[in-house]
């Protein structure tokens, strides 16, 4: 994408063309944002507001969705609620106004933490292993290198459910079912193929003369790798890490089949959030919003690396 800025001399589109193109693209962008805006708005609605007809654009924002997301509640008689002392928090107050009291924390926060541990753990491992392997493939003559690389990549073509069957059996034997370690290893294995492929491309671009010069100056191969190659590959490593992180963060199929309790991540948990008598959509929206925010922030902050990674990865394959 680096040559994107080359000057269009004769072929510069006219001002009118640009304007029309701009209007269509902006319209499309706004339309695609509507569902996300709706999730965000719903998370601040009260349950009755969220299911009103016609759908409400203007409403009094409340934190009820977030309160319901993080707590479990039990219904109580008004007399009992009156007998309690003054409310401890905003959530306490909101819950009591619905004739309920907070019974305890919900499972959302532990599930969210699991997602963080598993996503970051597997990303770190995949990028670490991937960088080493990519350097190995890029710089040394490895027997059957092309076959190995193709094989590494082809493991991604398997439908996740197909992979999950033997993994399920293997993890059951090894006691890795429903453990964070098991999920980290699995996501690392899935991501490392992409990591090796992307990073090999980035490392291939670093001239080997740099390392050779460093080694003539007395560096060992390992020192040259650490002090010359790694700093040069930072952008590539960052781009790869984002892809691994997004995959592990968003993954659902393995998570729903292989975790159920203590190691369950947020994606299989969020759809199970239900309230009294039907879906508690504000709570679902709140859980969705909190879950999406980290990825939104990453996308916006690291858009350049992301763009480069997507096109680069695609073009090389």
């Amino acid at each position: 994408m680096s040559n994107a800025t080359s000057a269009h001399s004769v072929v510069e589109p006219s001002a009118a063309t640009k304007r029309i193109a701009g209007i269509i693209v902006v319209l499309y962008a706004i339309i695609t944002m509507v569902p996300l805006a709706w999730i965000f708005m719903t998370s601040f609605k009260s349950p009755p507001d969220s299911i009103s007809y016609p759908p409400k654009l203007v409403f009094t924002p409340t934190l009820e969705g977030y309160c319901n997301l993080f707590t479990t509640r039990t219904r109580q008689t008004p007399e009992y609620i009156q007998s309690l002392g003054p409310p401890q928090s905003t959530c306490d107050e909101i819950t009591r106004s619905r004739n309920m009291v907070i019974a305890g924390p919900s499972n959302y926060w532990p599930r969210f933490t699991n997602s963080m541990v598993i996503a970051f753990g597997s990303t770190f491992l995949a990028v670490f292993l991937g960088t080493l392997a990519a350097y190995g493939f890029s710089r040394f003559r490895v027997p059957l290198a092309d076959d190995l690389l193709f094989f590494i990549l082809s493991t991604r073509m398997m439908p996740p459910i197909a992979v999950a069957i033997p993994i399920y059996l293997m993890y059951r034997e090894l006691g890795l079912s429903d453990t964070a370690l098991g999920m980290i290893l699995l996501y690392t294995a899935v991501n490392v193929s992409l990591a090796v492929w992307l990073l090999k491309g980035f490392i291939d671009e670093i001239p080997r003369e740099y390392e050779e010069a460093a080694m003539i100056d007395g560096y060992t191969r390992l020192q040259a790798f650490r002090k010359v190659v790694l700093p040069q590959a930072t952008t590539g490593i960052a781009a790869t890490a984002i892809f691994c992180l997004i995959f592990a963060w968003n993954e659902y199929a393995f998570a729903v089949l292989l975790t159920s309790g203590s190691a369950q991540t947020a994606p299989p948990f969020i759809p199970t959030i239900i309230g009294e008598g039907g879906m508690d959509w504000p709570a679902v929206a709140a859980g969705t919003t909190i879950f999406l925010v980290p990825i939104l922030v990453f996308t916006i902050l690291l858009r350049k690396q992301l763009l480069r990674g997507i096109t680069f990865g695609a073009v090389r394959k």
Binding site: A7, H8, S9, V10, K18, R19, A21, G22, V25, T32, M33, P35, W38, S52, Y53, L129, G130, L132, A133, R139, F140, R141, L148, M157, M158, P159, I161, A162, V163, A164, I165, P166, I167, Y168, M170, L185, D204, M215, G218, R221, N250, Y252, V256, P267, I270, P271, M279, V284, T288, F291, L292, I295, T299, I300, L306, I310, T311, A314, V315, R316
Partner: protein, 322 residues
């Protein structure tokens, strides 16, 4: 395809260069290059062997047995090719394959048309195009499961935003149609969400393709007084074609495996109208617990994706060489 050509060109001198300085340098460092190469590559290979290859071999073995994961202590019987035969003659599985093909066809068609058009418009480089490109990208970064789950809310017949907007535009009462519950609309509800989510991906790859076309070609066409229409069909499309085909390949492989979005939107229903191959596989493996038969199905699926992808890549390479 300029980029792939350069990688091929670069590879050869690199390899030649690899052999010369190595012997000179080897004595200087502590570990020999060969040791480092293995040290660096082995952990990755070991992990892939343990978590990808070993289970795959295990699945192949199970596919010849009557193993059931919910009865691990039952006597294992080898049944030969019976599982494969049953899968290939099972009409439900063929219906699931047709459903999958239907999804793959429509999602790819819509995503390619919209994605390429958007890329073409963005390549007009209007003011602020970089910002709007980022905005358009957002859906593809999100979790299909979590967002798909929320689309269920948008598709609610009376209260859902989607139904409301459709009724606002067309005048049809919002409670008169059920996107997820009706046999004719349920497949489209999934196609819409998939297109919403993955059009940006196709757009990005097409954009890379459009930007790889050197300006001088258009300048030459301009000198020859070729019309804009003519330039589009004889320069833009042919030169961007390998990229469009790549995008189709990636989306094809991904949508062949489609699982989470379908699972959360319709769960395969109503009836089995949206039951794609992955859902059938999940039912066989984790609900009916016919592990042996599910393994056979999984292997058939893998071979199918792999075979189709290879045929396609060959076609792609022919297009590139033109």
């Amino acid at each position: 395809m300029i980029n792939s050509d350069t990688t091929i060109l670069e590879k050869e001198p690199e390899r030649a260069a690899a052999s010369t300085p190595v012997s000179l340098v080897r004595r200087i460092g502590g570990l020999s290059d060969r040791a480092i190469a293995w040290l660096f590559i082995t952990p990755t290979i070991a992990l892939l062997l343990a978590i990808n290859i070993f289970p795959l071999i295990w699945a192949v073995r199970l596919s010849f047995t009557n193993y059931r994961a919910n009865r691990p202590n039952a006597v294992l019987e080898t049944v030969g090719l019976q599982n494969y035969q049953r899968v290939l003659t099972d009409s439900d599985i063929w219906i699931a394959m047709q459903t999958t093909a239907h999804f793959v066809f429509w999602t790819i068609l819509l995503q390619t048309l919209i994605g390429f058009s958007l890329a073409y418009l963005i390549d007009r480089k209007f003011r602020g195009h970089a910002f709007w490109t980022t905005v358009i990208l957002i859906p593809m970064m999100l979790s299909p499961a979590v967002v798909g789950n929320f689309w269920r809310f948008l598709y609610q017949p009376q209260i859902g935003l989607f139904n409301y907007i459709v009724s606002y535009i067309t005048g049809v009462p919002p409670s008169s149609f059920e996107m997820l519950g009706s046999v004719s609309l349920a497949p489209w509800s999934i196609i819409i969400v998939d297109t919403w989510m993955w059009t940006p991906y196709v757009m990005l790859i097409c954009l890379a393709g459009l930007r790889s076309i050197p300006d001088y070609i258009y300048e030459a066409a301009e000198v020859d007084r070729a019309s804009a229409w003519r330039q589009f069909w004889s320069i833009t499309i042919p030169m961007a074609l390998p990229f469009i085909m790549l995008a189709v390949l990636f989306r094809g492989i991904e949508n062949f495996k489609m699982f989470d979005m379908v699972m959360l939107l319709t769960g395969g229903g109503p009836g089995s109208t949206t039951e794609v191959a992955s859902i059938t596989l999940k039912r066989e493996a984790f609900e009916s617990w016919r592990t042996g038969r599910a393994s056979a199905f999984a292997i058939i699926l893998f071979v199918a994706v792999f075979g189709l992808a290879n045929i396609y890549v060959n076609a792609l390479n022919r297009v590139k060489q033109r």
